[in-house]
């Protein structure tokens, strides 16, 4: 009988399994916080002011 050779699957360490979701969460949460901080600081007026004068 022919033996089927299977690839050995290397298991990831738990820390690395959670690394990507954590990075994703951090980027989304910090992104949202920064957007709200920017809105609070009325950055939009500066952005539009700069863009429209050019």
């Amino acid at each position: 009988m022919r033996r089927i050779r299977r690839k050995r699957v290397r298991m990831k360490k738990p820390a690395f399994i959670f690394l990507k979701p954590v990075l994703l969460g951090i980027s989304i949460i910090i992104g949202l916080i920064f957007i709200f901080v920017g809105i609070g600081m009325e950055e939009f007026y500066e952005i539009a002011g700069n863009a429209l004068t050019l």
């Binding site: 399994i17 690394l19 990507k20 979701p21 990075l23 994703l24 969460g25 980027s27 989304i28 910090i30 992104g31 949202l32 916080i33 920064f34 957007i35 709200f36 901080v37 920017g38 809105i39 600081m41 950055e43 939009f44 007026y45 500066e46 952005i47 539009a48 700069n50 863009a51 429209l52 050019l54």
Partner: protein, 291 residues
């Protein structure tokens, strides 16, 4: 893509609804589209970020938006919205011998991002000499202390490099405005030469500007490995037909590079009939069964 360009460069709104443009110009969208383009509706994030550094602030909105968009969809906007990327892809359709860009050139954009977009707007000023009538770059710290606060810092990436700005804004403004024609000098011709180099090389290679120089693409590419929108490769479904490799606008091998920072999520490889490359949205690396 054509639709996206009409949305970004909304001629209709600019002409008939200037107040809509005034409102939308508040928003820096994650696409390299210069806000000096006469018909544009949105602010360029790279230009906006530099402008805030120049005036001594940090643009929370721009940086937050890039983090959010990068986290959700990675470099998707490069593939689906960027007008300059579209121009390069159109030029690549011209029949000619095609070449691959060396891999090491991909790292230039990170140097550009760091040097021209972050460091130079903070520390380098543009000093105009009344005697010679010429401008020169000088470190702000080299100026006398009382002049440092008033030093004219610049958005150096826009000023020295950005070919998207030259094509969309520089050339049209100079052609339309007679006063500007008198101001055309070495810098303008330098930028025209750069634009010419990128547009010419786009005929022979795939998206040369996006691959080597674009700081926005470089930044968003950092998120490709963990963004919510992901690509995966299922080896059992691959016929090795190489269609995905042939059609990749970034010159990648999607079977190996499906999470590369260079991938612009154009989905050309997903739409082929082999079903080996799939797109999915997940916070982990697990591929959903139904897709």
């Amino acid at each position: 893509m054509i639709m996206a360009i009409f949305v970004i460069d909304g001629h209709f709104y600019v002409k008939y609804y200037p107040q809509v443009r005034e409102f939308l110009m508040n928003l820096p969208i994650p696409v390299l589209n210069c806000y000096s383009v006469p018909t544009t509706l949105y602010a360029c994030p790279v230009g906006t970020f530099q402008h805030f550094l120049v005036i001594g602030f940090f643009s929370f909105v721009t940086f937050g938006l890039l983090l959010l968009v990068g986290g959700l969809i990675g470099r998707w906007t490069c593939g689906w919205l960027c007008p300059f990327g579209f121009v390069q892809e159109l030029l690549h359709l011209i029949p000619s011998p095609k070449f691959k860009i060396p891999k090491w050139t991909r790292y230039i954009k990170y140097i550009i991002l760091l040097v021209f977009v972050v460091i130079m707007p903070l520390f380098v000023a543009n000093v105009h000499s009344a005697e010679t009538g010429k401008s020169k770059m000088i470190l702000v710290s080299q100026l006398p202390e009382d002049e440092q606060d008033f030093a004219q810092r610049e958005t150096w990436f826009c000023r020295l490099i950005c070919p998207a700005g030259t094509l969309g804004a520089g050339i049209p403004h100079v052609l339309m405005n007679d006063d500007l024609k008198e101001l055309v000098g070495t810098l303008y011709w330098w930028k025209i030469a750069l634009l010419f180099i990128f547009l010419t090389s786009a005929v022979f290679t795939r998206r040369p500007f996006c691959t080597t120089i674009c700081p926005l693409g470089g930044f968003l590419g950092l998120f490709n490995r963990f963004s919510l929108l992901k690509l995966t490769f299922i080896e059992e479904h691959c016929y090795n037909c190489n269609l995905c490799v042939r059609d990749c606008p970034m010159g990648l091998d999607p079977r190996k590079d499906y999470r590369s920072p260079e991938c612009i999520r154009c989905m050309n490889c997903v739409q082929k009939k082999c079903f080996a490359i799939r797109k999915y949205a997940s916070i982990t690396d697990e591929v959903p069964q139904k897709n």
